[in-house]
Symmetry: C2
Subunit: 293 residues, 2 copies
């Protein structure tokens, strides 16, 4: 690979593979706040967004590119910490930072992360592959990131257990396993919130969904035994878990990550939430809005 | 190609080819001003930056990705115009806009363009391939964009002849020709200014350069017969011409674009400018700084 230093980076994609490309902005006071998030955390979260998109296609991340604009109000120390946090994660996933762009901004921090990946030809797991009558699964647990954010907003302390918010981990190994086994028919990462991301699968696949509220794995709350409120698990973003559909057998753990069945796809369009008493109500896409909104 | 609408875009790269990736920011009040540049012009220039990087590798642009953040102070009409200008150029080069990201910004406009290209394996033209004793060439003419910018800064009218500033054209066909013929030993696009971009070739290739001031093709000035001042041709950015070295025969026109020999590489490091009387002075990299600087 010819990396930083030429007009463009040169990458080799394995023979018989297609390439995947995803881009994601991380903007100060929209996606993060300097008073809440250390530069290392912002860099880590920035790269996670891209890796998670590649994971959701069942792909192999190959290289990352960072475009970073900072204003004069941003000390070099902050930039160093940001790049350090991003490189920590890039080493963990063996995804080199292969290029990008730097620019002066009028004020604040704007980062755009590009992750390039590969997948065997025709094997990318799309959002559009679900059929009616399949089971719906989610990895890990949901809502932890949004619950932590709500506490930050409220000026409350946030437990270190909420690593989901500060150091989320893209489910690359799970995505790869689901793709190689042909297990997942459709997949997306939970970046905007379960309700919104499930809605994407439903509309792209032309199916509906029934979700059992009690089955949704909820992230840890702020005390040892507590769990986050259902609303965060339903609508909270930035957990970077995988949401997928399957008609086959799915183990309860993949690549060390718990996998939970939370419902099924239906022929009837629309999304329905079923409570512990079996009562159904309409589930609307109310995914987390970036907190600048 | 699976484009906008999934977690990542899926692209096919021709067999036996490597992929090229480049990213470039276009930031309001740094790279453009809304009072000087129409949204169509900003969109066109944004994509040109990426296409020109691919051209400078001798590559074939395959797809573009746009990450666009806009503040509430930016009307939807502006965004539509911007995307319209970008799509005008994308159609001209048959490079589809295949994905990207949109976000709210705190204020103003931040656009990051990613262009993905391809090149036969091992054939990308790098900055590092020049050897001493080769000729140095530039396509088209230089300085037109910076001269227009200087007039905008001075509140003076800018001639429509300065299309170089408003509608620059990436030299993709020239770059392809130079690569397929094995003609260019090293290449870069003139985006930061001749002196700065030549310095990149020199330092990456481990050579020096002698440039004949009189040979540098200067862009049209603001009257019919005039030419821009030498300083703009030497240090002005955003012309998006190609600067390359070659030890072989180079035609005076490639793909309809004039090509001019402006000097030669030397064993002795450093850059030298020779005037019409044969007098030499040191040439420093003083490339154009973005005008927010």
């Amino acid at each position: 690979m010819t990396g930083i230093g030429d007009d463009a980076a040169v990458l080799r994609i394995p023979p018989g593979h297609e390439m995947l490309v995803t881009t994601d902005f991380s903007i100060e006071n929209v996606h993060f706040r300097r008073e809440w998030h250390s530069p290392q955390v912002v860099g880590w979260r920035c790269l996670t967004r891209g890796l998670s998109d590649i994971a959701a296609m069942g792909g192999e991340p190959q290289a990352a590119f960072l475009s970073l604009a900072v204003g004069e109000d941003v000390p070099q120390r902050w930039v160093d910490g940001f790049v350090g946090g991003l490189l920590d994660l890039s080493r963990k996933f063996k995804v080199p930072l292969a290029g990008g762009d730097t620019a002066q901004s009028v004020a604040g921090i704007q980062a755009d992360i590009v992750v390039v990946g590969s997948v065997p030809r025709g094997k990318a797991v799309l959002r559009s592959g679900a059929e009616a009558g399949e089971s719906i699964y989610v990895t890990g647990d949901l809502g932890g990131s949004a619950a932590a954010l709500a506490r930050l907003f409220g000026g409350q302390p946030v437990s270190r257990k909420q690593v989901r918010h500060f150091r989320p981990m893209a489910r690359v190994a799970v995505g790869r396993w689901l793709r190689t086994g042909g297990v997942a028919s459709a997949m997306i990462d939970v970046s905007d919130g379960l309700s919104t991301d499930l809605e994407h699968i439903c509309s792209e696949s032309g199916v509906g969904a029934e979700i059992e509220a009690e089955s949704i794995p909820r992230g840890p709350g702020n005390t040892a035994q507590s769990r986050v409120e259902l609303k965060y698990a339903l609508h909270g973003g930035d957990d970077y878990e995988l949401l997928f559909t399957s008609s086959g057998a799915v183990p309860s753990k993949i690549a060390g990550v718990p996998v939970t069945r939370i419902g099924q796809t239906t022929k009837k369009p629309g999304m329905v939430l079923i409570n512990s008493k079996g009562k159904a109500r309409k589930l609307k896409a109310e995914g987390w809005q970036h907190f600048g909104g």
